[in-house]
């Protein structure tokens, strides 16, 4: 797929999500290729946006994972996070 582009600041992730009755996608958990699964505690904001840091564009979910805020992007059909945020 043409939107699948690697970059230093981009981490593709696996996502477990709810597909709600009204057609929304609500990500619940995410996991990098070899990392542990992280539960998403809260989604603070959802909007279409570019990722200037990682390179790409899609639906951006601003997520709270423990103490951290993560920018999770759904650039169909892939999910990615901005790498610095994952550490």
């Amino acid at each position: 797929m043409s939107v699948h582009r690697e970059s230093a600041a981009k981490l593709y992730v696996k996502v477990r999500a709810d597909f709600t009755l009204d057609g929304r996608i609500v990500p619940l958990m995410l996991r990098t290729e070899d990392g542990p699964a992280c539960r998403i505690d809260r989604i603070v904001d959802v909007r279409p946006a570019p990722s200037l840091k990682a390179g790409g564009q899609g639906m951006r979910y601003t997520c709270r994972v423990g103490e951290r805020t993560l920018m999770l992007f759904y650039d169909e059909p892939y999910w990615f996070i901005e790498a610095d945020d994952s550490r």
């Binding site: 043409s2 939107v3 582009r5 970059s7 230093a8 600041a9 909007r47 279409p48 946006a49 570019p50 990722s51 200037l52 840091k53 990682a54 390179g55 790409g56 564009q57």
Partner: protein
């Protein structure tokens, strides 16, 4: 009531999308180019930094590198650009149902509605510009005016990420001082003709006697005169209305130059096959066949002929094309690229005059055969069935003009 029309032009569209997806190249001079190995090595788009070096769209990669040695050329990824174009369009369609695309990166939007004032239209243009930047990460320039021609002119005046408004009461001061060549439809040839009668600005064109202009430029003269005076009334086509197709064509730059009649027969048959398949897919037949050929020096010539009966058969189109080629271009090899296009279209369910010789019956059987081949190719790929003539050159046999990238020219007027 004056209309409120926007023209939105995505700035350096292909290059902007590439830079968005690859942050590492964002601060370098970048150009999106065709494949140099396949001899399509021209610049298709460049970013702002490359523009500052004087890199121009349409020039060869080696020419661009002479101006900017560190120019980074990335291959075009059309599926990504089409996807972005659709995303942009989805935003525009939230503002009006009259959104008309002009290529992948330009649209007109008619915002006019009762009670919407001019200032409100300009505010909406700014809102739209901001949304594209914030949601998609690329920028657009927007022209706001009371007709399509001036709106397009406006979007070229200030770039990138800007709005230019040309109001009905201000177009004389804003538009008339601009060079005549900036107006839609004024290409290099028309510009030369206008210069010969001392018309250099759009204002000169507007003030010139239309009848005299018509005697010099034909019907186009009247159109240009009306455009310059702000009298373009062409509508913005609604989103769901398909424009009537006026011609179907294909061209190709093969992996090596055409050097003999055999090469020409092979390539024109390939192109005729693709054009005929597209005619059948659209339910059309054509009466006029035009061909073009481009020399290694990049000068292009074309010619056309009318057929006795409308057709969508490969052989009839190929024969007409080869007849034209032999008459006009034969013996002047080599050629770098060739094109074929069919026009004067009519629906394929129009009544046919049968004859006693059985010729029409034979044509109907041939059409059935070609439709079966279309079906096979849809299911198993283009190379599953090939004509013997195209196998004479291994490089040419790999060309698939139907699926290869083609950007369709869009007629300005709805046909």
């Amino acid at each position: 009531m004056d209309r409120i029309i926007l023209h939105c032009d995505a700035n350096s569209f292909y290059a902007s999308v590439e830079c968005l997806y690859n942050p590492a190249i964002r601060h370098r001079p970048v150009a999106v180019s065709g494949d140099a190995q396949a001899r399509h090595g021209i610049i298709l788009a460049k970013n702002e930094i490359a523009k500052r070096y004087g890199v121009k769209t349409g020039e060869a990669i080696w020419q661009a590198r002479q101006k900017c040695p560190e120019l980074l050329c990335v291959p075009a990824d059309f599926s990504l650009y089409v996807r972005f174009s659709r995303k942009m369009r989805r935003i525009f369609e939230q503002y009006s149902d009259r959104v008309e695309s002009f290529g992948l990166d330009e649209v007109w939007i008619d915002l006019s509605q009762p009670g919407l004032c001019w200032d409100e239209g300009v505010r909406m243009a700014h809102a739209l510009r901001r949304r594209v930047r914030e949601e998609l990460g690329i920028t657009i320039s927007v022209g706001v005016s009371f007709n399509k021609v001036f709106a397009k002119l406006g979007s070229d005046m200030k770039k990138p990420d800007a709005v230019t408004a040309i109001a009905p009461d201000r177009f004389r001061e804003l538009v008339w001082p601009l060079p005549a060549g900036d107006l839609l439809f004024v290409g290099p040839s028309t510009r030369r003709k206008l210069a010969a009668i001392n018309i250099t600005t759009i204002g000169d064109l507007a003030r010139f006697d239309p009848a005299l202009l018509q005697s010099r430029l034909g019907k186009n003269g009247l159109t240009l005169s009306a455009f310059a005076n702000g009298e373009d009334r062409s509508p913005v086509m609604p989103s769901d209305q398909r424009m009537a197709i006026q011609s179907i064509g294909n061209s190709t730059t093969p992996p090596h130059d055409l050097t003999c009649e055999e090469d020409a027969r092979c390539l024109y048959t390939l192109l005729a096959e693709s054009v005929a398949a597209r005619l059948r897919a659209e339910g059309l037949r054509a009466r006029c066949v035009s061909i073009s050929a481009r020399t290694a020096q990049l000068s292009t010539a074309s010619c056309q002929c009318m057929l006795k009966e409308p057709t969508n058969l490969t052989d009839e189109i190929a024969q007409a094309a080869l007849g034209l080629f032999a008459g006009r271009f034969g013996g002047h090899f080599p050629y770098r690229s060739v094109g074929l296009s069919c026009s004067h279209l009519s629906p394929d369910n129009a009544p046919i005059q049968l004859d006693f010789t059985g010729n029409e019956e034979k044509r109907m059987r041939l059409e059935q055969l070609e439709r079966s081949i279309d079906g096979l190719r849809r299911r198993y790929g283009h190379q599953i069935v090939q004509r013997g003539v195209v196998l004479c050159d291994r490089d040419f046999a790999q060309i698939n003009p139907v699926e290869n990238h083609t950007i369709h020219p869009v007629p300005f007027y709805a046909g």
